[in-house]
Subunit: 291 residues, 2 copies
């Protein structure tokens, strides 16, 4: 397994046109490949506009099966180019059972596995609990041609448990396909703090777990939301290796030295010292005070 | 309970003189009180130089009981000034049973409780596993006159589980008395990244848990170590509200609006969406791959 690998983060705009979005994604995958990318990740729900801005039964028609049209087309590209593709899918699992999922396709074109978003948000214009059943596949690692990959999705990025459990499975890089932005009604004064908090908490996961973290966001205006781009890769010590812009599409190409993981975990051996005898209450919702 | 509270972080040098260190701490506590501080925190093991630079049986003579000389003297000050004092102690619990502990004293001079460091480091010049038995009191919250306080110590700051479990107990502010610095043998090129990682991972805990975080470090040169100061307070959204300098003693006075916790947790309801049904593997050391 190669130790020096190249990531390609596709930060893209998404329109109300599933064919145009797929074409755009394929074009950007080709661009990333031409720049040497070996593992290429698309943003959350890349085939459609961000439909959870409203609760609308019609939008379930956007869902598809896994495998399905999107994975078939992307598998051909993965095989032809010998690359790993990370592809978010609005998954129809059964009548009335939909997930916000992501598929990972290896360099031979075969699906390695899929992750179903575990933490589902519900906030003004992010009505995801209406559309998506909570994931039931847990936190996983996927072994690919170019590395051990963990997959989490957007809202998962605020939960240290998700990153930890993924890292404990052996993941070397955690990808977060994302759709995050500013709502028109929010105060402009907190906008910068939100973006900084989003980046900081994920850099924290990289540090605490000694893994690379790659966040891949969409960009541009849709309805009342302005997606803030700013896709980035953090080293296992929290350094931002590269960061995309806030307003435009961009294919971010980032070289990662996987040997860094060994080096950093030897110098800062957090995994050695975890108090696994004392963590069981993490499965509590909250501990109510006796006082 | 007051919602606007004032923290006093005592960033101090520590000498090979337990009396001088106590006098210095008392002087700085008075200075903090005169500037309005209500909850005052001293750095880890503030009564001595950082003795875990070597493994030396003689150093066990520095340990004391809880309650003991240090807590008695600080209790008087706490009562006289009606302040909360957070005081790290090298605790002698029994013959051969020592802990790296911290005591919290309320505004009436009474000890509210104590925390014993759960995660014990062992790195060149930080030979703490030689001196300190791992804590056995778990992760706690302490209700005081001025707020609900969580206590963790230094190496704990790299473990998301520690912050999470403390926040789930109800803590509004997590204090980290600390002794962290650079070792002479380390590459200068990584020094800045270390300091940034240290601050970032703790800001991440603040964000993920919606709590204030206060890190209180020592400063100055001792043996082969240069303690980097940089004590700081993070808001529940990861903003650094104040940060001390890297080289000198400083009493950092920081106003905190505890109502921010409610506001931020309403806007970013992470605690609502935790997947407590899916976190039990957090008590695993590591999950070995089947492949």
């Amino acid at each position: 397994m190669a130790k020096q690998i190249v990531l390609g983060l596709v930060q893209m705009r998404c329109k109300d046109d599933v064919e145009a979005n797929l074409s755009n994604a394929l074009e950007k995958i080709n661009s990333a490949v031409s720049k040497g990318a070996q593992i290429i990740c698309l943003p959350e729900l890349f085939r459609s506009f961000y439909f959870p801005q409203s609760e609308d039964i019609e939008q379930f028609s956007l869902a598809e099966s896994i495998p399905g049209e999107t994975t078939e087309k992307l598998s051909k590209v993965a095989k032809a180019k010998k690359i790993v593709i990370i592809a978010p899918i609005f998954e129809k699992r059964a009548s009335g059972v939909y997930h916000n999922s992501v598929v990972i396709i290896d360099g031979d074109g075969k699906i390695v596995g899929k992750y179903r978003k575990m933490h589902i948000p519900d906030d003004p214009c992010f009505y995801e609990k209406f559309y998506f059943a909570p994931g039931d596949l847990g936190f996983q690692n996927f072994n690919t041609k170019y590395g051990k990959i963990g997959l989490l999705i957007c809202w998962d990025q605020w939960f240290p448990e998700a990153a930890r459990l993924t890292a404990l499975q052996g993941a070397q890089i955690i990808f977060y396909p994302t759709a995050i932005g500013w709502h028109d009604s929010e105060k402009k004064s907190v906008a910068e703090a939100q973006l900084q908090a989003w980046e900081t908490v994920q850099r924290g996961h990289a540090i605490a777990n000694g893994v690379f973290v790659a966040a891949v966001n969409r960009v541009g205006r849709e309805g009342s939301l302005t997606f803030w781009g700013s896709s980035f890769v953090s080293s296992p010590f929290g350094e931002v290796l590269a960061r995309a812009n806030r307003n435009e599409e961009e294919v971010l190409i980032v070289k990662c030295d996987l040997d860094k993981i060994d080096q950093i975990r030897q110098s800062w051996p957090f995994l050695r010292d975890r108090r696994i005898d004392a963590y069981s209450a993490i499965t509590s919702r909250f501990v109510d005070s006796q006082k």
